[in-house]
Point group: C2
Chain length 391, copies 2
């Protein structure tokens, strides 16, 4: 079986408001982050299935003859619940021995989706190469973007969803039903990688834009504008689990003090959603967005998930008139800084330099952009295309 | 009439928790600040009444013969409501022309209390000298400490309250009834100086310790321990009126976000009061007090009354493991830093030096100490005694 080549990408995600509060029944706003993961799927003629993940130094090939027996074990499951037994067996097959845990998990995820999507048919020889602009392990949904790309590319290759890119298109997206299909497989990928994911990351990778997340329910919000931001990675390592526990402990210790703070964060998310879903966004709206960012950053500090490095991000950017907050678990990790449409590029460049001088990684990007999409090669930045073409 | 010499002092005040929130119906905790104002009253034999206020470069003498006619205008009023007409006339008498507004107001306040206290009797010749450790106009209750000292010394001199210091006493205080008398006259002094005072500052100056202030009611709290603190004056000027208005605007703009923050501040005050009124204070209690300080400082930033200089105070002290918040109106002004009983004096000295290196004034002092008291000369620091003896 010969598959059609394709090139897809999916965005990362970041939390605009409501991190931690969401654990306690409050709203969170998750937005797509336009640092994207790109996946190139190429038909191969050498009876091999290969995956190249240069970001994490992972390169694997399997002979089709070795994979064919596995195909018999997979059933095409439209309900798409994770087949835990298959995962367990594949884990043994991949062999988690060489210490590259992320690489092995990524291979396992690929094989699981590949085998499942082509179940009951002929396995195609193909090479998949993935390159991501996202730092890994920074709470930016890099694993979800990977799973979404895998699902989109493999479902397209299998003909389960159409290859909707026409000759004259730069990019193309899928219809709602196809996106649900992609999201569902991506969620299985996330489950393999994370065990018990919330589903937010893969939903953002699939639909893009902004999602309201409340009590386990994910509601995509329509007509959210693209917002310019700086994303800063302080590179301070942290444990999300420990931070979530710290917030919980503080709420238990000071319920009368902390519960109102969660209520206030909830109101911040609602206010932000209201501002962003009433286009056009005015200068006054931007002032409100900046105030909400400042207030929430203080609240996150009250919850005990701040960090001196994040304070530095806030201080350095505020010195340029820009407003920042941590995003995600906090305790280090990443911060986002809102830029206005009119913010001069020299201000942006100077701010980025100041942040880099602090030892941080910093990107100018935007939030609220499209979810998973297909690309014509000409719509992909040359340096990314070059990396993808190397394999 | 020959009066007995006396030496009295009254503390400043600072807000431990609840500044701004108190304007919106929440609790505030006001505490005495052991930077004190000292007043020496000395009988004089030259038929003059003199006041020396070296802190504000104000020195005035009046001939008794010029003051005697005023005495006829004063009625000894036990209900002690301010006689606005008398104030108006005295204002003309003092003559507010030389540009030293604080000095003139201080003289007016003195004359008002002096004439009222000795009303219907013979006016005594005396010299009053006041020296304060408190910076003026920094929201630390310096005017109230002045009024409290005036009231205590003049009421003692007039025999309205006893001169309770016995030969072998270092210091002495008055009974509850006498304190109420002092407080009532001090409140009139505050009214002359501020127009519409809350009454908190003079109550703290009179009773010392800690007071709960809620919806205009002032409740002294018993058995509050003395807490070591650093007081830092950033010397950034600010307008309390403008800051109060800013908070009100923010609440009106974002009620659903801001009202929970006020609720949280309220809970902070109650929690703090609970911790402080359950002696003995343990190490764990100090950790709680530190956490409350940190949380409230973030909340005050949310209200928009922070300032980069106050952030600096917090950062510099936190680098030494110490916790700080602004106190009072914010937007500059003063910050307090909690010290533990066991905090090493070298840590304190280093921290004070770091704060002074930032251009701030800094004092090691304590909060929760006694209110107005009488002193034997030997109980007053020599440098203060020297200043008072100069006049």
């Amino acid at each position: 079986m010969q598959v059609k080549d394709c090139l897809v990408s999916a965005p990362g995600k970041t939390i605009l408001h409501g991190e931690h509060a969401v654990v306690h029944g409050k709203v969170a706003l998750a937005v797509s982050l336009n640092l994207r993961t790109y996946l190139k799927l190429k038909a191969s003629s050498n009876d091999k299935v290969c995956i190249n993940l240069p970001n994490i130094d992972t390169f694997h090939c399997w002979d089709l003859s070795d994979l064919n027996p596995w195909n018999k074990l997979c059933t095409k499951d439209e309900a798409q619940r994770l087949d835990a037994e298959l995962v367990r067996r594949l884990r043994d097959f991949v062999g988690f021995t060489n210490g590259n845990l992320n690489g092995n998990t990524a291979c396992l995820t690929f094989l699981y989706i590949y085998l499942s999507v082509f179940a009951s048919g002929e396995l195609p020889a193909l090479t998949i190469t993935v390159w991501s602009e996202l730092p890994t392990g920074a709470g930016l949904g890099s694993s979800a973007a990977y799973s979404v790309c895998l699902a989109a590319a493999l479902l397209s290759a299998a003909g389960t969803i159409p290859t909707s890119l026409r000759e004259w298109d730069q990019t193309a997206r899928w219809c709602q039903e196809d996106l649900e299909h992609i999201n569902s497989w991506a969620f299985q990928g996330e489950t393999i990688i994370h065990g018990n994911p919330s589903g937010v990351d893969n939903a953002v990778g699939t639909w893009g834009g902004m999602l309201r997340f409340l009590a386990g329910k994910i509601i995509p919000l329509s007509r959210v504008p693209l917002l310019r931001i700086l994303l800063t990675n302080t590179k301070v390592p942290r444990s999300t689990k420990a931070l979530v526990a710290r917030v919980k402990d503080k709420i238990n210790k000071f319920p009368s003090i902390m519960n109102p703070v969660l209520d206030s964060v909830d109101a911040i998310s609602y206010t932000c959603e209201k501002v962003l879903t009433c286009e056009p966004i005015t200068g006054e709206d931007y002032s409100i967005l900046e105030e909400l960012i400042d207030i929430n950053q203080h609240h996150l500090n009250v919850m005990g998930v701040g960090h001196p490095a994040l304070d530095t991000v806030c201080r350095v950017t505020l010195a340029k008139g820009l407003h920042s907050k941590l995003t995600g678990a906090g305790g280090g990790g990443c911060g986002i800084t809102l830029l206005r449409p009119e913010t001069d590029s020299s201000v942006v460049q100077n701010t980025m330099q100041d942040l880099k001088d602090c030892g941080f990684d910093c990107w100018e990007t935007n939030i609220g952009g499209p979810g998973v999409q297909q690309h014509s090669p000409s719509s992909v930045k040359e340096e990314i295309l070059e990396i993808l073409e190397q394999y």
